[in-house]
Symmetry: D2
Subunit: 506 residues, 4 copies
């Protein structure tokens, strides 16, 4: 189309991204095809960010001569890196990091695409960031007053300036110093001339795991937001980066297997893992925070059935069975869990069925015109299997409701296939508060749960025969509980575990 102009082209002064989002970060060290492995990992984490993607590699010619190369574009991983020559001619080197950027409402200027790279007094450094800082405005003002020039509208750039200003001579020490200033949620992968650095903020809000993959007789080491990235390159998970931990993988690691580990804050606080990563964001075939996502989701479905079973209402003797369908693919496992538990625990005859088909070809460029856009968008993504729904009692299991617009369109679509009754079950509590640590939720007033007094009213608005959300208690029951580990449930409760700047609170 028109590549020269888009609505992001005119930049307002002092604009900072208010609603940055959850992303994917990956990195690898000591692999002869570092960029290609990074590409594979980014592809497997495409669900964590579809707006933009990028890879940066470092190449060391000799002790004093380093080169870097970076390829960053708006678009999907496969499209951005479709030219094989990128891997042979440009993105050379045995260490690389990558990033997928989620579509946000903020500014999409090109310089925002990660990894962010800098050349500075100590050489080169590249950084991928997942999460959101909560003292962005404070730090930015302070740095600008000292003469810093910001080239992006992201909070991620703060890490660069803080590192560049450190008086330490080691890059790793510079980063450690920088992290003493930043507050909020961040999982980082950083390329330095001293090695691959990875860390999770003191509360460890976002996931990040460490893996290793055998190549040419030794192990290369990698990090990724979710372990499905490791499956893609036949790497095995070693462990997660811990909350409040910064690790370093360097040439010594390749020989000895030893991974350096530093504390960010002297006292490690209780972890506050984002529980929404389990509910919706991560892939079911991943492990995050050290646990299988799939198993948690199955449990969410089971707990939901226990809390809110669906009884048979059909008077047609041919159709006396509750049919549970999921919103593919995020709801599949939970729907299966719900169906089994509704049948087994609640003794209600229940069948898991495939009533919604999801298109494999939906991207973000679908044209809408002249008609109800939301409806067409839903139709371009889903279609019903009429024979499965027509005349039956249907339970739809979905993971969450945010604005409610997509749910509304989806319910309408399903009702066109004429179910006898239509029940909606949600495997999380009502979302009532924005996320300031990376999840792309809108403001309070755009959240449908704040528009109505109770779930009955929301159900009526959506047009279902019944609607039930999983309770916070049953939600927490589904996840692992270990020493020092807790969960951030701020989007349901408004209790933010990390202090916010006043700009964010309003």
């Amino acid at each position: 189309m028109n590549n020269d102009i888009n609505n992001k082209d005119i930049v307002k002064i002092n604009e900072i991204d208010k609603a940055q989002s959850n992303c994917a970060v990956v990195g690898i060290y000591g692999h002869p095809h570092a960029a290609l492995m990074t590409y594979y990992m980014l592809h497997s984490l495409q669900h964590r960010g579809q707006e933009a993607t990028g890879i940066t590699t470092f190449y060391k010619k000799d002790d004093t001569t380093w080169y870097y190369a970076s390829h960053r574009r708006n678009g999907l991983v496969m499209d951005t890196f479709s030219n094989p020559a990128l891997f042979t001619d440009k993105l050379v080197g045995t260490m690389a990091i990558g990033h997928n950027r989620y579509a946000t409402t903020g500014s999409a200027i090109d310089s925002n695409i990660s990894p962010l790279n800098m050349r500075y007094k100590s050489g080169i450094l590249a950084l991928s960031h997942n999460g959101n800082l909560s003292n962005t405005h404070t730090l930015r003002s302070q740095l600008e007053n000292e003469g810093a020039i910001f080239h992006t509208t992201t909070d991620s750039e703060l890490f660069l300036h803080l590192t560049a200003r450190s008086k330490k001579t080691s890059q790793i020490e510079q980063i450690r110093e920088a992290l003493t200033y930043t507050k909020g949620a961040y999982s980082l992968a950083i390329l330095t001339q001293e090695g691959l650095v990875a860390c999770r903020d003191p509360h460890g809000v976002r996931p990040l795991s460490i893996g290793k993959v055998k190549v040419d007789g030794h192990y290369a080491y990698c990090v990724a937001s979710e372990t499905c990235a490791f499956d893609m390159i036949d790497a095995e998970e070693i462990r997660t980066v811990k909350h409040n931990e910064m690790i370093v993988i360097n040439d010594n690691t390749l020989v000895t297997g030893e991974i350096l580990s530093y504390k960010i804050e002297p006292e490690t606080p209780i972890a506050k893992h984002c529980i929404f990563e389990y509910i919706y964001f991560s892939r079911p075939d991943s492990r995050i925070f050290g646990h299988n996502v799939d198993k948690v989701r199955r449990k969410l479905g089971k707990n939901l059935a226990e809390e809110f079973p669906t009884e048979l209402a059909n008077t047609d003797p041919e159709k006396q069975k509750v049919r549970v369908i999921s919103v593919p693919d995020s709801g599949n496992t939970a729907a299966l869990g719900y169906a089994r538990a509704n049948q087994k625990e609640n003794k209600i005859e229940t069948a898991y069925e495939i009533g919604l088909i999801r298109s494999h070809y939906v991207g973000r460029t679908f044209i809408q015109s002249g008609q109800d856009n939301r409806e067409f968008k839903v139709k371009s993504k889903f279609n019903t299997v009429k024979g499965v729904i027509d005349g039956w009692d249907i339970v739809v299991v979905d993971d969450s409701i945010v604005r409610g617009t997509t749910s509304k369109a989806l319910i309408k679509l399903i009702k066109n296939a004429k179910p006898n009754q239509l029940h909606l079950r949600i495997t999380s509590p009502p979302i009532k508060f924005p996320c300031h640590y990376g999840m792309d939720f809108p403001s309070k007033k755009e959240l449908i749960a704040n528009d109505y007094d109770n779930e009955k009213e929301i159900g009526d608005a959506l047009g279902v025969d019944s609607l039930h959300y999983l309770s916070k208690e049953k939600l927490l029951e589904a996840v692992s509980h270990e020493e020092g580990i807790d969960y951030c449930t701020a989007c349901f409760t408004g209790e933010y575990p990390i202090e916010l700047e006043s700009e964010l609170e309003s």
Copy 2:
């Protein structure tokens, strides 16, 4: 990348596509947003062809002044038509046809992209074709000897030349005359200045349905290879185009609802519907040949369980349940059918589970390099849910095996997740013969079923504990049987219902 050069750029003389393929055809008449509706329908039929896509519209200024516009490109529907101005400024008019082209091994020169358009003595005509002619070489030689210049390497262009050479003055009569010469499989949507023409060959090998959609107080009429295209634009199915039938929708149809119908051959032969459309090619939420695809697939799974049940082998008392997983998404319904029947009919404890996750972001541009390509391709598309598979008796239900290479890689992937036993069940008989009517199968010697004596040997080659194909009898039992309707099963039996040229037989 390098748009100037690809391996299709150098054209050999007298080359004709030998392996054209199944495609999508759609058309609409009498709709103020004809091109946009065509775009929506093409999007919903993306699975029928991802290599190229195109739309042609006709615009009548006055009785003697017609314009046409055509937009055709390699690539997906959403990418090709991502510029909204295409619909407002270029593809104007109330009648349109569209086409999705399947990736083939043949020539991909740009002029091959459909719809094919021609300006000729009687004005303008555009044509979309699904299927393959079986007397291509004979007709082409004959026409070339008379001075015809072919601009494509497709058999579809034959329809144009035959129409242009007819001495009839009406475009519809010209087409009717042309169809007396063509043999083989064809479902066509043709735009003429006299109306929208649609037809299916005398044996009706490929599907084509007629629908209508209310707009501005009247009905617009549409045709599409599958009815899921109608769902997308809120159209309702009227009926299928019958085998040996050519229909015409024109201005009179808009007023009276009357659809003109002509016979192609005086005597209508027994229909030979492609049974593989049910097994794999069509979407489960579609109706084709007047029947629900989803229901047929459920029956295929059921019949397969009856023929080849899977017994429990696990000695771990915790895991004594057969787990059925599908290859998503084409195998989903059949797997559900298999699981239910294995449990109910065969009295073997069986659970349908989600053990394979399919990526939403796989296109055709995935880079493979340095490593086993097939394996990476499979990994970029699928990942296992380890907890579902590890230690269990697993039955994988898939629709078919062609070359066997993908199956091999998939089985390897699943075995990495360590099932106790791994059984493979296929909802169709072994494919042993190429299709000459549009399905993109390779030559006999590339089909894995021809490499081994029996399914035991194939199963061993794939590395499963057991492999069973559905029998032809049980396959035919799953589909509808009406007066005058039979099925083409040539890919299983080698019995081709329509005579082939000698070139094809060899």
Copy 3:
């Protein structure tokens, strides 16, 4: 910009280019870098056509296996062929033809870009055409009635259909037969499997020369519209293709140097060389029709000075010298001729000066907005050297005036530099009639010479102190006169030497 849509996208039925134009044709045979040489020749003939360009090569694998490759695009030669891989990987073979297309008011659909290529019963054939047929409508109707499908809106495609319909078996004989039907102006370069064919119509309106270039110890043979193309590749001119002559260069030519020659019509008419090629269209460093363009232009300037000298009018004793400036670069040589003759023959003190600077960077995409477009276009192309003009008596020498709009803007620009007097001298008679043989002149009513009674009135309209055109007699005196050779001066006189269809006469 917006590559998907332009104003040529919607095609009207039965549209044929009415105003095709003068172009460049080139060809080469027997050269290991045939496409590269063709590219160089096309670059040197860029002035003959800047809208589109293309090259087709043939590659013979063995006696029965031929391939062809073609690269054709809108744009300049250098931009279209900027990818070196085109020459190594795509445009292979030792024979090639090329074409530059002039910007016209007609249809610019992509399929119109030459060379036109066809695969037909006898194999492959590619054709480049310079000129315009005068029986286009008659031939096209006749062929369409016989079932021909036209894929372009050019008259050039007629050659293809006539050739494909010939019952002869030799391609050369087919072309000879085709040429018995075509009337009008055509210089052709045609690639066949039997050799490189070149010809000029019976009146030889457009130029075409034959050259040879040593490579690897033998001679390769080439043809081009102007000999400056030969200079570019170090080829030497052998002779012109004669009017009414068709020549063939084949493998035998490479060995013996013998070029086959055929007559097109049995009786060769008097040649009617386009005199405007000398006046404006060809490059001054070229030979056309066997003569130096530069020498003719010098003579035109001299004759013009003799007919219409410019006397000194300046009263400032410091500035008593007539200053002659040209409109660069087409007027340079004529201006020098005028200045010398005005000084020497007319005994008037006269100095050739550089008063107008031409920008090297003007293409066809200059944006105009809000202001007088024509003026900005002229300003983007020319600027005055104020010190040369201010206060002096200035004579501007230009080659011709068509619509007069550019002249008007140019005169205004020069007057801004404040000459004492400003005189305009034109090295051709007034253009009063359109060209039907290839020159891109507008209709009668758009030609400024038809708006006024005499040159005095035109000069007043342009705002000069005097305006004089060269007389037709003095024009003809400047060109060579040989046995059987005459000139087409129809644009000045309306006497068209080749009969026109009634469509064109109106």
Copy 4:
């Protein structure tokens, strides 16, 4: 071609452009079509830089809300700004600056394309720079040690960091402070929220002029490297920015016409205007440093004829006249001056002739392959008019010889046209030293004048019958001499008027 990869993609750490080059800077304030006027000015200054171009505009919504927009690309002005919507939808605002970047041997990473824009504590600022700083490494190291992150490899970015670090609150005062640190050659146009700032370094090496243009009843004010930019938009020159002067144009200027003026250094040194701007770089229709370029060049030709006349050597009585030809277009005026003086002052019969034709279509993408590239490059740009040269005594007048490779190829080309004798005259002294103030000359050892002992030897190497360079004395005689104004002739003498860093001296 391959947009993803080029040889500039891999960046070396601590790389700084060593060979930045002369460029074009323009700016305008108070014009409703500021970006469009900037575009026109940039187009007219295309000769000052063809590698990249850019425009930045500021738009003030209200006192506290400013927006900026910037469009910067590699390529020509016309191609980069070919989309008209850029001017209506993106580059809005009444103030704008622009920049053309010359092709250099340094790094062409995208972030280097000017104008450089920054958002910083005081708002927004954009900067275009012509020239080269001579204390780049010193300043850069110092700033990096303080934590500055550089995003380009240009010296121009230093102005941004120095400005951002100033503790002053006014942008103009910040810039003034920044200029106390920078040494070297710089002509700047800077957009601030306080007005358009322009300045020339204390020695005023590069030109910069101020103009005004009437629009909507008032004057808008503009600055440009050469006055031909003003001609393009009908602006008139007011005066030059003086050496050591910084001017400000703001809203008050629009009302009162008053232009603020500041000194950069308290004591203004003698100006050191680049004399090569007169010899070659500027357009002949421009005024620079307050003088007509054309007049200087004419004088250079005259002085050269006086110093080194060419006598007649031809023994053919028909051809007894010296013919002077120029290398178009830079040598045209000087050749005319030479011819006149050789005839008049030296009493040798001499004719100015057009013996070389320059192609209008030469860009930077010409393909060279398999043969002598330099020769083909020259041929693609020039061709001889054989009749003008063959058998005559020819004097070629050119402005300068740098490496000598182009001259060698050109002389060979001319000799192919068989002159009786061939003499070369250069309107400048031998270039023996690199320029550190912006002219793109190579290192000492690549300059042909350093390879030989005297001009006789250089002439022999080039293959001419005689070669003479203008002396430095005669060169300086041709330019204006005013109080406080001198010239930089370092490329001829090695006497650099502004102190260099040690890096540059070696």
